[in-house]
């Protein structure tokens, strides 16, 4: 717990909170100031907007401790504020609210528009208010109310203050308090202990029984190596060697009856995931085709992934050359999958697969070149590290295979 000190609606307040407490929860749960509403908790809807150091701030994505010693004004603190009083009358006159849920945030943002914009057009007001969503009114009354208050105030000779009286640089709420050092390293206060690898019998966490499964996204790629077909075919029999080419992947042991436990670690910017699971291996000597189907679960994000690597090995155009046709597909489910910007996931997947193919080629070429020991390979998928280490053009080529979600 940490002590949070704020100046809320003109009074100094202090409470013990967990650092994860965002400002809105601090006000609502600790101070019972429930006029600040939570509509999305990811900074889009604007219902939680209030004033921090005098300027509108999203209280759902601002942590209370980050505002230590700041001035916070909630809707309850604007009862006697002149602009807000005028806005209240105008909102009522113009029917600028229905269910009232967006209203406190709407009023705080409207107050900022009235304060800062000298002579805005209707369009300017709409753009300025676009960070506050209302599901009831169609915004007609809200915009008219703001127009009315601005016209009235300018008519009374009250000019706008474009900077909203802020002169200090940096995020609202910052710069008021002294340094805080972290509590000494200690076990996490979470009720939930983090996943212990030993606890999770990975093989039972997921299932591969569904034979009709088809990947959401599939990439195909072919390359040729200067090495006899039999050798390349045998290489793919070594599941450990293949897995080693997949950045971040590792196996818990040798396959038993075509099953093997393993995991794949992925880090993308601030997000890291560790999918633990199993893989099933099938091979057909007659056609020289095989599949590795894996499924794993990331406990942190409650997300799962399934992947398929299909390979076909056939003679190349020249003697002692082998052509490898790869089909790589995956499906992601759970929290990590539930976003519309699939392009970002595609970008990451594309980068992983590009490295996998590059590693396979390196490894096979190395073997075919008669190299000693193991070639240097990319081992953990850290997207940033990878990008620094790889030729950018290679990634660009890789991205061109990208197929959209079918």
């Amino acid at each position: 717990m940490s002590t949070c000190n704020l100046n809320v609606n003109g009074s100094a307040v202090s409470a013990e909170i967990q650092p994860r407490t965002h400002l809105a929860d601090f006000l609502r749960e600790k101070l019972n100031l429930t006029g600040t509403h939570l509509g999305c908790e990811h900074g889009v809807c604007g219902a939680c907007t209030l004033l921090v150091d005098g300027v509108p701030t999203r209280s759902c994505i601002t942590f209370a401790l980050a505002c230590q010693q700041a001035d916070v004004t909630t809707i309850e603190g604007l009862d006697d504020d002149e602009i807000t009083r005028e806005l209240r009358a105008a909102f009522t006159r113009e029917h600028g609210l229905q269910c009232g849920y967006c209203t406190p945030g709407m009023v705080v943002s409207a107050r900022d528009v009235v304060l800062r914009m000298q002579d805005p057009s209707e369009r300017d007001i709409r753009v300025a208010m676009s960070g506050n969503l209302c599901r009831c009114t169609g915004y007609v009354g809200i915009v008219r109310a703001i127009q009315g208050v601005i016209a009235d105030r300018r008519g009374r000779g009250i000019a706008a203050i474009p900077n909203g009286n802020r002169t200090r640089l940096g995020p609202s709420g910052s710069g008021n308090a002294t340094a805080v050092t972290p509590a000494s390293v200690r076990p996490k206060a979470n009720a939930a202990p983090t996943a212990k690898k030993a606890e999770a019998p990975a093989a039972s966490a997921v299932s591969l029984r569904d034979t009709s499964w088809k990947p959401q996204t599939t990439f195909t790629q072919s390359f040729t190596v200067g090495h006899p077909v039999d050798d390349v075919w045998n290489f793919f029999a070594d599941i450990g060697a293949v897995a080693a080419c997949l950045p971040g992947a590792s196996l818990a042991g040798e396959p038993v009856d075509g099953h093997v436990d393993g995991q794949i670690k992925i880090k993308v910017g601030p997000i890291s995931a560790e999918f633990q699971g199993i893989a099933d291996v099938t091979r057909d000597d007659a056609t020289r085709t095989g599949t590795i189907v894996g499924a794993g679960k990331d406990k942190r994000s409650n997300s799962s992934t399934r992947g398929l690597i299909g390979y076909a090995v056939k003679p190349g155009e020249l003697a002692d050359q082998t052509r490898v046709d790869l089909t790589i597909g995956f499906t992601l489910t759970g929290a990590l999958a539930q976003f519309s910007r699939s392009g970002l996931i595609q970008d990451v997947a594309g980068r992983i697969i590009a490295v996998f193919v590059q590693n396979l080629e390196t490894r096979l070429s190395h073997r075919s070149g008669g190299g000693e020991g193991e070639p240097a390979m990319v081992e953990e998928f850290d997207a940033g590290a990878l990008m620094r280490s790889m030729a950018l053009d290679y990634v660009r080529r890789a991205l061109r295979w990208l197929l959209r979600r079918s």
């Binding site: 429930t34 009831c136 997921v206 519309s340």
Partner: protein
């Protein structure tokens, strides 16, 4: 005193508390010792549950299906329509999950954050099953099954054929495949529940933001096996409903069970991710539709196969079939034609259930039929409005029973169209289209006419056979000893402004200042039974009930007043809050004071009902009111980026007598914004494994201030023949017509390119793809010709 009665644009009584942040929504309720609940939800759309592992030290904070099985029953919302297959929605999943977000375990802790920590520590082993993610594929014989015991994935199939074959000789036959995306209703406040066992009252008190508190009590009583005397439902301030809050939730049942078991208050507040990925959806329709017409644009018949993606479970109380079955009965819209055939399927998939959203099936139906009316116009070389005028039901036909036996009560539909057209200059717009825009954008004009059956009652709902059939709507009117008036209704106001409009109704009859009239609602303990707020019914039904109760109360007031004025009741009238006799008058305050505080002044013959009345109301006919409107959209389409700008928008509507025109305008503006969301922005996508692809408002786009224009609004007031004051239900109408009007406008703009968009939302991507497809078609047909046309 300014006019306050029916027809006055009185400012709202509820505004002040909301503007000061003093509303009380379910998330604002604070009870001593209250603890928070978070749920373990299914990350998969379709899977068997093999095992649930709870860390031993957390076992007492986690509840799973086996813990609650003995005390709860699944939610079961049947329909009486023949062939309906019921689904049991488990309170907590066991054996199988059928949608992402389905409840698996309930975790309780001192704070929500800690409850989420516990939920994260619970591990569930699944055996993933193929997901039924597409309602059209779901009807194929090889599809996986959501409910294995059914043998297929169809909740209900309906079929109606009225003389269809008579239309087959029509010279014009046009077929289109049209669809509307799945949506989330997305009120700004999500769901939430606070539950506590009240020891003194020996009663479960459940606060839940809901449109239908009495219906929740019915459902909860069934699922918790608890008599209704032991359940009180409170619906406090509610941050928007739109249909999303017209459902009994598994979460409600869980919290009720937990409060009864643990002895302390518990709460669950739905967060936006839960709302978007686990909560109910709406709107997903698919139409294969054919129209038959004569060369002069006269509609001969409509033939349609319609599917609705109803999701995994039948929701309480509206059931999984309401939407699709409604399509069959309302697809004809405001048009008069002789031949009709419609087959519908309510399809079960591995998605969350769908609920009736503002406009229910009408938005999809209107989109489909209005696109077809424009197609006929194009085929006949007529202006779209000319085809409408040829086919709209005419005022002299009123009241009119249409092809599906809908009883249109009144109205002048062609006149709404003419008035709407008068608000744009069509000839100038056509000239501007021909000339082209300097910025290369394409101008289009589109219109859409709809009718909205509202406040339909017993006879209609008894036919559906769902768990909820509205009867008489009741209201209580009760004077306080100091002359105030309490109105009590079982419906709920959450943006509809009933705290203002129902006092206006009472004021109209009793003359009491609305400042002294208070609406009590949202509490089963204090209000008469009602099926709640849905179906554009409250102005008609609650308004009618308040009017009826007020009239009864007026008689009682006049009785006491006459006595005090020492005259007979026939000689007095109510005027400006006083009973006026031949020579003097007495204020209502004094009458109330006498009844409550000075009974010694009353004669023995005084009416013993005193100053309190509870009475029911039903319109003279309960087949519903028919409001209607014409919407016209003028758009500019950017053919390079696919952007659509609404450059003008017109609405001319007829809601009968308006109780408060300002409030009605607000309903239309708000409905329009939601209709624009349907038309252009909102889409709940799923991938082929049934994963919802929107978990934030950055993925699921709601229209903001720059996406919604201020429309030109016109009112007609054709009084409804069967209701108090001639009021018609109008709350949902604004959301019905926009996709049709905007869709027609976009296609009008794209016509020079040969492109059309038949699916909502009309995103830039869909617009560009339509243009691209048209260009390819042109190239394939006549490569040399295509050269000369704009790309």
């Amino acid at each position: 005193m300014a006019r306050q009665g029916v027809g006055a644009s009185v400012p709202r009584k509820e505004d002040d508390r909301f503007l000061r942040g003093r509303g009380e929504y379910v998330g604002d309720i604070r009870l001593p010792g209250m603890r928070d609940v978070a749920f373990v939800r299914s990350p998969l759309a379709h899977a068997r549950i093999r095992d649930i592992r709870i860390p031993p030290h957390l076992r007492s904070s986690v509840f799973i299906a086996s813990d609650i099985a003995a005390d709860t029953r699944p939610i079961r919302a049947v329909s009486g329509l023949p062939g309906f297959k019921p689904s049991d929605q488990p309170i907590l999943a066991f054996e199988k999950v059928r949608q992402v977000g389905e409840l698996i375990a309930m975790c309780v802790a001192d704070t929500r954050a800690e409850a989420e920590d516990i939920a994260a520590a619970v591990e569930v082993d699944f055996e993933e099953l193929p997901a039924v993610h597409d309602m059209l594929l779901a009807r194929r014989p090889d599809s996986a099954l959501v409910h294995e015991e059914w043998g297929d994935n169809v909740f209900l199939e309906t079929f109606v054929d009225i003389n269809m074959e008579a239309a087959y000789d029509a010279p014009i036959k046009i077929t289109r495949e049209i669809s509307t995306a799945r949506q989330s209703m997305a009120p700004m406040e999500g769901r939430g529940t606070v539950a506590v066992w009240h020891k003194r009252m020996d009663q479960l008190v459940l606060y839940t933001g809901n449109q239908q508190p009495h219906i929740v009590r019915n459902g909860l009583s069934e699922c918790l096996n608890l008599e209704q005397l032991k359940i009180r439902i409170v619906s406090p301030d509610v941050g928007g409903g739109f249909g999303y809050k017209g459902i009994v939730l598994t979460e409600d049942v869980c919290l009720g069970w937990l409060a009864m078991r643990c002895g302390y208050p518990v709460r669950w507040i739905e967060d936006r991710r839960e709302h978007l990925t686990a909560g109910a959806n709406c709107r997903e329709h698919h139409y294969n539709i054919t129209v038959y017409a004569d060369r002069d644009g006269k509609l001969r018949g409509v033939e349609c196969e319609a599917s609705v993606d109803s999701g995994a479970y039948s929701s309480y109380p509206f059931s999984a079939c309401l939407e699709a079955a409604q399509i069959a009965s309302i697809l004809p819209g405001p048009y008069d034609f002789p031949s009709y055939r419609c087959r519908t399927w309510s399809v079960s998939t591995n998605k969350c259930p769908i609920l009736p959203y503002r406009g229910v099936a009408r938005t999809g139906v209107c989109y489909a039929i209005e696109l077809m009316m424009d197609a006929i116009a194009h085929e006949c070389g007529l202006e779209p409005y000319e085809v409408r005028l040829k086919n709209l039901v005419r005022p002299e036909q009123m009241p009119f029973d249409n092809i599906t036996k809908k009883h249109f009560d009144s109205g002048n539909y062609p006149e709404s169209l003419r008035q709407a057209l008068a608000k744009i200059d069509l000839a100038a717009l056509r000239a501007r289209q021909k000339k082209g825009e300097p910025d290369g954008r394409l101008i289009g004009v589109g219109l859409s006419v709809y009718c909205e059956q509202g406040a339909h009652g017993t006879s209609v709902y008894a036919g559906w056979g769902i768990p909820m059939v509205p009867g008489h709507e009741q209201a209580t009117a009760r004077m306080t000893p100091d002359g105030g008036l309490e109105l009590r209704i079982g419906a709920h106001s959450h943006g509809q402004s009933m705290e203002t409009t129902l006092p206006q109704v009472a004021h109209e009859i009793l003359g009491i200042d609305i400042a002294r009239i208070k609406l009590v609602h949202g509490d089963t303990e204090y209000t008469p039974y009602s099926t709640g707020s849905w179906g554009s019914r409250c102005a008609v039904m609650s308004g009618g009930a308040v009017a009826t109760a007020s009239r009864e109360l007026a008689k009682l007031v006049k009785g006491i007043g006459a006595h005090l004025l020492q005259t007979e009741i026939e000689n007095v009238k109510l005027e400006n809050g006083a009973v006026v006799g031949p020579s003097n008058s007495v204020k209502i305050d004094e009458i109330a004071h006498t009844w409550y505080r000075r009974p010694q002044d009353l004669p023995a013959t005084v009416d013993p009902r005193g100053l309190e009345v509870t009475i029911g109301y039903k319109p003279a006919r309960d087949s519903g009111t028919f409001s209607y409107a014409t919407h016209i959209a003028v758009v500019a389409v950017d053919p390079e980026l696919g952007d659509i700008e609404l450059i003008d928008y017109v609405v001319v509507e007829d809601g009968g007598q308006l109780i408060n025109p300002m409030v009605v305008d607000g309903q239309i503006y708000g409905g329009l914004a939601q209709g624009i969301g349907t038309a252009m922005y909102e889409e709940m996508n799923f991938d082929t494994s049934g994963q919802p692809l929107a978990s934030t408002f950055a993925d699921y786009l709601l229209p903001g201030p720059t996406e919604v224009p201020a429309p030109k609004l016109g009112h007609m007031e054709t009084l409804a023949p069967y209701t108090e004051f001639g009021v018609k239900g109008i709350g949902e109408g604004g959301a019905i017509a926009p996709p049709g009007a905007i869709g027609n406008a976009v296609n009008d703009a794209l016509r020079p390119l040969g492109a059309q968009v038949l699916h909502t939302p009309m995103t830039p991507r869909r617009v560009l793809e339509a243009i691209q497809a048209a260009a390819e078609r042109r190239k394939a047909k006549a490569p040399e010709l295509a050269e000369g046309l704009p790309a």
